[in-house]
Symmetry: C2
DNA sequence: CTGTAGACTATCGTCGACG
DNA sequence: GCGTCGACGATAGTCTACA
């Protein structure tokens, strides 16, 4: 499984746990709603700055998101 | 200080600790040498996939690099 | 509330060359 | 071994609109 797909799945999971809509997350992180949609479906690869912007609104450390992604990535490869 | 500048400084630090040249790192991570140079000087923002590619050749976890960056980022902001 | 599509701008990342 | 420059193709990220 590719890094961006894993990232997208985890982003969605974390967002839903926070009970935020894509719209809310987009508004708060100053990104576009359709872009959040693309990210969650693994159609885009976020830059480091984008990861920081998202993490800040999800009450999670950027490194923690990356840690989760890398853990899953190692298992599936 | 911006995220990309902090990232660049830490990338350079880690690379030098490994005693790798930009050329070597570029070759191994399948990126361009001039791009490594741009990254280290904070002129580019790496995507998540790029961070994974670099970390893999630096014997460090991607999340660990991000953790270092975010620690410095919090201090300086 | 989310997915998709298309058109668009900005930036990532490559490449060759020079100092 | 590195910084820089210019040109370039690829993709990140925006925006409007519709289902």
């Amino acid at each position: 499984m590719s890094i961006e797909v894993i990232f997208g799945q985890q982003l969605r999971k974390i967002r839903e746990e926070r009970k935020l809509s894509q719209e809310e997350l987009a508004l708060r992180s100053k990104l576009d709603r359709t872009y959040i949609s693309l990210l969650e479906r693994g159609k885009r690869r976020p830059t480091l700055n984008t990861i920081f912007a998202l993490a800040a609104q999800l009450d999670i450390a950027p490194s923690e998101i990356v840690r989760i992604v890398e853990t899953i990535f190692r298992k599936n490869s």
